[in-house]
């Protein structure tokens, strides 16, 4: 591979999502102008429209002015489509796929009292455009999003960017990951920009995972936004943040410098804060606050650990430019001062553990995952946790070389068992479907931590396989839970019954995803859990594994019983003539694709086998 190709492959996963994000921002600016001009020309004075269109611009350029538009009225937040709230109860009557009608459903700032009668129809009808209403968002549409359709549009109201644009950046990540997967196992790690970016087998594996999960989540976005009745500026802001989120995750995976890795992980927190608080209900504001405070403070501890490691490296005679470079540190780790490294490792495990959903700083996870929009929950649970944990894996290599394997093994095994105990206890008492899935994520992350504690190459390969399998299965489960929430108007497990009879396709998809999460064959999680257990009993902390198996049994029972309660039984309502609700192709395709990929991983890793074992060697081979 030439140098330019390498640079391109390493840069594209970061730059393409950023460019997509910028495209959404730019279209927002243009739309705001066009709408203002159109409104003035038509004589409709609609100040609230402009106010609602502004946040995209203000969020990017002058965030300090955001509050003026956000802090509208308490009524607005109360009216938001909250799953549990009274506004959402009206949902079961509407058919999914149909355009939600009804007067006075202005859940957004647009349908204000002073808007003309035409505007609400636009505000509700337009975002409902699914991926299929293509307006030429091909490669050309990426550079100049939506220009063609806009100039051709009859009215002053511009058309939104289509859903297909959203697939460009995940596809770019996946393509670059695949291209690197062809070369990296043979020719070794590649770097670009003076060792700022670096890709080894672990990076490539994570890049593929991020790309695959992001494809599924972004494919689910348009259907989700259409059903949520999101107004156009809010939808654009949502897309903007999702793609910035993808860019931050790619940067975290590709960073060669531990400081840059930290910056990228913290950036994911900042970007996702408004995605968690997307609906602006009381619950989602609370979740966003907890999320930002706990994650920022937790990850700050990891930065303190990084600083201490930098100090140790400088004292070991490593020059300033390379003292945070992972490769250099891993190669010269034996010269680091052990007591300083021990302190640093403890802080890093605590800090990145917070972001990866491990105890003791895990409290944000169920709140954030239950309040975020379903595709964002899928991204956060499916890959963000794994990306943060992959950061931790990098530090583990350094710590093991400096201190011997015992220290991180004890630390990670302890953290894993505590997390697993918490997750199992809370799963047993869980009454909310999305929170149940969030606790299941904690369960799986603690398994991953346990496999890492075992530390052999086999265990690490199983861990990486588990990350990918969990990402795919959890994405399907969260996306399905989003559809369930719309279908039933609630996420309370007690109120959801007979899902299989009510909507057979959706019920089957959800059931299959939960079966995958339970670790049953033929899905990838079965293979990886088997691998982790085998490696753990061979080399690892056996006490932790024994405790974990008992706790997992409890979690298994809880998850299976709760899901069975949701799926089986007669459908709700007394009307016998209610025919099954179909799941549209738009909504169904990502679910089926995710399940198929997860099952394929369970059967064989195919051409990725070498990549996987090499990635396991990088972390576990020391």
């Amino acid at each position: 591979m030439t140098h330019a190709t390498t640079a391109l492959l390493l840069t594209a996963p970061i730059v393409v999502p950023l460019a997509t994000s910028a495209a959404y921002a730019a279209s927002g600016l243009r739309d705001a102008k066009a709408r203002a001009a159109g409104a003035a020309a038509l004589g409709h004075r609609t100040p609230r429209q402009r106010g609602a269109a502004a946040p995209v611009a203000t969020l990017v350029l002058r965030p300090g002015h955001g509050p003026a538009t956000y802090g509208t009225t308490p009524a607005e937040t109360a009216d938001g489509p909250s799953y549990g709230g009274p506004g959402a109860r009206a949902w079961p009557g509407t058919r999914p796929g149909g355009s939600p009608g009804g007067p006075g459903t202005g859940s957004d700032g647009i349908a204000g009292p002073d808007t003309g009668p035409g505007a609400p129809a636009w505000s509700r009808g337009r975002p409902a455009a699914p991926a299929g209403t293509g307006t030429g968002a091909g490669p050309a549409g990426r550079a100049r999003p939506g220009r063609g359709p806009r100039t051709g549009a009859p009215g002053p109201v511009p058309r939104p960017l289509t859903g297909r644009l959203g697939l460009v950046s995940p596809a770019a990540i996946l393509t670059c990951g695949a291209a690197l997967a062809c070369t990296v196992p043979d020719s070794g790690p590649v770097t670009a920009y003076g060792r700022l970016l670096r890709a080894d087998a672990l990076t490539v594996w994570m890049l593929l995972t991020v790309g695959a999960v992001a494809c599924l989540a972004c494919a689910a976005n348009p259907a989700h936004l259409a059903h949520e009745r999101t107004d156009e500026p809010a939808a654009r802001r949502y897309h903007l943040l999702v793609h910035a989120f993808l860019a931050a995750m790619s940067a975290a995976v590709l960073a060669a410098n531990l400081g840059v890795l930290w910056v990228a992980i913290e950036a994911t927190t900042i970007v996702t804060a408004f995605l968690v608080g997307h609906r602006r209900t009381r619950a989602s504001v609370e979740a966003a606050w907890k999320y930002v405070v706990i994650c920022s403070a937790g990850i700050a501890l990891a930065f303190l650990g990084t600083v201490l490691l930098y100090y140790a490296a400088r004292q070991a005679g490593i020059p300033e430019a390379y003292a945070l470079d992972w490769q250099t540190l891993a190669a010269r780790a034996d010269r680091l001062d052990p007591s300083v490294t021990r302190l640093a490792t403890g802080l890093v495990v605590l800090g990145f553990g917070a972001k990866a959903g491990l105890a003791p700083l895990h409290a944000w996870l169920p709140d954030a995952h239950s309040q975020a929009p379903a595709p964002v929950s899928a991204l956060m649970s499916g890959v963000l946790l794994s990306v943060a944990f992959a950061g931790l894996l990098r530090y583990k290599v350094i710590a093991d070389a400096a201190l011997g394997a015992g220290f991180t093994r004890t630390l990670l095994a302890g953290v894993a068992v505590v997390t697993l105990a918490l997750a199992a206890a809370l799963l047993l008492a869980q009454r909310d479907c999305k929170r149940m899935l969030a606790y299941s994520s904690m369960e799986h992350m603690s398994l991953i931590a346990l496999g890492t504690a075992a530390g052999s190459p086999l265990a690490l390969s199983a861990v990486l396989l588990h990350m990918a399998g969990h990402g795919l299965a959890k994405t399907v489960a969260f996306c399905a839970s989003g559809h369930i929430a719309r279908l039933c108007g609630t996420t309370r497990i007690g109120r959801i019954r007979g899902l299989l009879a009510h909507s057979p396709c959706l019920g089957t998809a959800f059931a299959a995803a939960v079966v995958a999460l339970l670790g049953l064959p033929p899905f990838g999680l079965f293979a990886s859990e088997l691998g982790i257990a085998r490696a753990g009993f061979l080399s690892g902390p056996r006490w932790a594994l024994a405790a974990a198996l008992v706790l997992m049994l409890a979690a298994f029972a809880a998850l299976a019983a709760r899901t069975a309660r949701m799926l089986l039984g007669p459908p709700p309502g007394e009307d016998d003539e209610a025919e099954p609700v179909p799941l549209g192709a738009d909504a169904g395709a990502p679910l089926v694709a995710g399940l198929a990929a997860c099952a394929a991983l369970g059967v064989t890793t195919g051409p990725l086998t070498r990549l996987l074992s090499e990635a396991g060697e990088i972390i576990g081979g020391h």
Binding site: T77, N257, A267, W289, V292, L324, P366, A429
Partner: protein, 232 residues
């Protein structure tokens, strides 16, 4: 600058830095807390500038100036704005007990106990950082426990204070502590990391400020105790 003057000035700046963190625990008026935080930013910039002068590194002086602008200028400003946007103007100029949003009325741990805890946390920081000092004893690294103490005090503030703004200050104390640790231990992290971290902190504070405004709109106040919609 002779070595003894450098050491004394460095100790003075570090002392002021630690004192500011303790005073934050002592005060209850949120606007005063923010002002003390700004003073701490000045002390932090002074530490960086002293190190730059001592090592004759112009780059470090520039970083010190940037840090001073961010932590003594921009961040306090943002927080004061978060404080003032939601507070209604008083219609009566008469004295009345101030139970409004601008005070930390009910911390989880009262002020006397907080100060005592700060003392204990400082002792803990000295105990924990002994290996750090032993690795390379210089005047700068001997002051390292101050950084860790401020980190711990920041965490304590974050956990015990019940107003959104006070929690923000707690987070920033934590961050100041880490920055001063980086300066004292290794004259600061590489520039690209320093820039990224500063940018992240600025954005985090912006996000928290906007969330505070939303919280006020949704809950009618900024008390963290009101956040009890989500629990198991």
């Amino acid at each position: 600058m002779t070595d003894s003057v450098y050491t004394q000035l460095l100790d003075l700046a570090c002392g002021a830095f630690l004192l500011a963190a303790v005073v934050v625990l002592w005060l209850r008026q949120l606007s005063s807390i923010v002002r003390v935080f700004a003073l701490q930013g000045v002390a932090l910039a002074a530490v960086a500038a002293l190190l730059g002068l001592h090592e004759d590194r112009l780059g470090l002086l520039a970083v010190a100036a940037g840090i001073g602008l961010l932590r003594a200028g921009a961040l306090p400003r943002l927080m004061l704005r978060a404080l003032t946007t939601g507070t209604p103007h008083r219609s009566h100029p008469h004295y009345q007990e101030d139970v409004s949003e601008t005070r930390e009325t009910q911390p989880l741990v009262n002020v006397a106990a907080s100060l005592l805890s700060a003392a204990l946390l400082t002792l803990l920081a000295y105990a924990v950082s002994r290996p750090l000092v032993e690795l390379n004893p210089t005047p700068a690294t001997r002051a390292l426990p101050v950084g860790l103490a401020v980190v711990l005090i920041g965490f304590f503030t974050l956990v015990t204070r019940r107003r959104a703004l006070a929690q923000m200050v707690g987070f920033l104390l934590l961050d100041n502590g880490i920055t001063v640790t980086a300066f004292l231990a290794a004259s600061g992290v590489p520039l690209i990391v320093e820039l990224g971290v500063s940018f992240d902190v600025l954005l985090a504070v912006l996000v928290l400020q906007i969330l505070t405004t939303r919280m006020r709109a949704a809950f009618g106040g900024t008390g963290i105790d009101d956040l009890r919609e989500l629990r198991d």
